[in-house]
């Protein structure tokens, strides 16, 4: 058996940070969070903000439809060949954490079809507060919650809220209508996350995604440095 030999040829698990030709591969960023919190809206806004300066592709993990992929297509956020949908067999968190093969395949196919890419956004199907992305699939992850899901979600914590590289608290425009206390959410999030960043967004507003774009630019700068 050859189990201890180092790999040669193409990477078997494509976790390597460089391409076979030695260049840095695309930065992969996962977006997770509860159903309807604004993941697809964030992906769409990020693509609009960055697509002229970066080569971007998106992988969606719809639970039982192709709606997220179709939303992105319909809104012409990116050309169709830059968007791939992965089917997840009723278990969205399995496809981003325990068995990432279908997602890795989508990432590879995108790189092959439209690469070289600078950035690949992987949107998870809306799931619960425990969903996190495998490090074998993404380099950084964003967890998107919203103010309408209850202002106690940051306090409840869970792996997504606590450990994501960026916590986005979206739909701040709705806070007055649903009685959510943004200061409390900020305090609870800080208590759960320590130094890890938190941003508040309202994607209905002009440049609402700005804080996420700023964070992403920092990640990209660190990635290619």
């Amino acid at each position: 058996m050859h189990i201890d030999h180092s790999h040669e040829g193409p990477a078997a698990v494509s976790a390597d940070a460089t391409r076979p030709d030695g260049r840095r591969r695309a930065l992969r960023v996962g977006l997770g969070g509860p159903v309807g919190s604004g993941k697809t809206a964030t992906v769409a806004a990020l693509c609009r903000a960055l697509r002229t300066e970066l080569s971007i592709a998106v992988v969606t993990n719809d639970i039982y439809t192709r709606e997220d992929a179709e939303f992105l297509l319909r809104n012409a956020v990116l050309p169709p060949e830059r968007i791939q949908a992965v089917e997840t067999g009723a278990c969205p968190h399995t496809a981003i954490r325990d068995d990432i093969s279908a997602n890795l395949e989508a990432v590879e196919d995108l790189e092959e079809a439209v690469g070289p890419l600078d950035l690949i956004l992987v949107e998870s199907g809306g799931d619960n507060l425990t969903a996190t992305f495998s490090k074998g699939l993404v380099d950084a992850q964003i967890f998107v919650i919203d103010v309408a899901g209850g202002d106690d979600i940051p306090r409840k914590g869970g792996p997504g809220v606590t450990t994501a590289d960026l916590l986005v608290i979206n739909k701040t425009d709705l806070a007055p209508y649903v009685g959510s206390d943004l200061d409390r959410m900020a305090r609870d999030a800080a208590a759960q996350r320590g130094e890890l960043p938190v941003v508040f967004t309202s994607l209905k507003g002009e440049d609402g995604v700005g804080p996420v774009v700023d964070w992403l630019r920092e990640q990209l700068a660190g990635w290619v440095a």
């Binding site: 058996m1 050859h2 189990i3 030999h5 790999h7 040669e8 040829g9 193409p10 078997a12 698990v13 494509s14 639970i63 039982y64 439809t65 192709r66 089917e87 997840t88 067999g89 009723a90 278990c91 399995t94 496809a95 325990d98 068995d99 990432i100 093969s101 279908a102 890795l104 395949e105």
Partner: protein, 220 residues
């Protein structure tokens, strides 16, 4: 052979993409053919003795060292449904990724290079078994088991079937899985001419229809 290596390969958590596939159970549930544990047992038995036997023999042959590219052609010839051929290749590609990380070998590298879009999953699984130091019976057992465990897991999710009942179905099928694995390995020893070509036409037909559903939980 290493019995523990067989457990690693056969584990439902082996990350080779199988969790997103129902093995034909989703269309069967939708059509009302699977409603309870008894139906599940009948479905699994049918799949095991048809598509399961054929796939198990392909895997056993690959584990024995028969030419995987010829086996890949043999698998194509035994898979009339284009949707199931595409599924088998996609799962083969995913199995290849996990196999190369788990038991890297020159034979796996060669097949990966020759079929970058994926060879049929049973062929890749058989070669993975070979790379893990396992034999044809082991590979056939793996395929026989996943032939029934895939639909069982899917039905637990689709029907909220009691998981204990679903597992009991699998346990009751164990003697038949052993028998199918034995026959598959025996056929593989007879070479290409002996490989079984048993099929389940209804699975082929419903797989084609399922692939065109706009809304579904499982990829196949």
């Amino acid at each position: 052979m290493s019995r523990a290596a067989l457990l690693v390969l056969a584990d439902g958590r082996f990350p080779a993409g199988g969790h997103a596939h129902s093995g034909g159970a989703e269309p069967a549930v939708k059509a009302g053919r699977i409603r309870d544990a008894q139906d599940l047992a009948a479905f699994c038995r049918g799949r095991l003795h048809t598509a399961g036997l054929t796939a198990a023999a392909l895997a056993a042959a690959a584990a024995l060292g028969l030419d995987p590219l010829r086996l890949d052609e043999a698998a194509d010839a035994r898979t009339p449904s284009p949707a199931l051929r595409a599924t088998a290749r996609r799962l083969g590609r995913q199995m290849m990724r996990a196999a190369r990380a788990s038991w890297p070998s020159p034979e796996l590298e060669a097949l990966a290079a020759a079929r970058p879009r994926g060879a049929h999953q049973p062929v890749v699984l058989g070669l993975a078994a070979r790379s893990a130091g396992l034999g044809p019976e082991d590979a056939a057992h793996c395929v026989a088991y996943e032939t029934v465990s895939g639909p069982a897991t899917a039905v637990v999710r689709l029907l909220s079937l009691n998981p204990f009942d679903a597992t009991a179905v699998l346990a009751r099928l164990a003697p038949e899985m052993d028998e199918v694995a034995r026959r598959a390995a025996e056929a593989a020893r007879g070479g290409f001419g002996e490989l079984p070509a048993a099929s389940a036409p209804l699975l082929d037909i419903t797989a084609e229809a399922h692939a065109a559903w706009p809304v579904r939980l499982f990829a196949s």
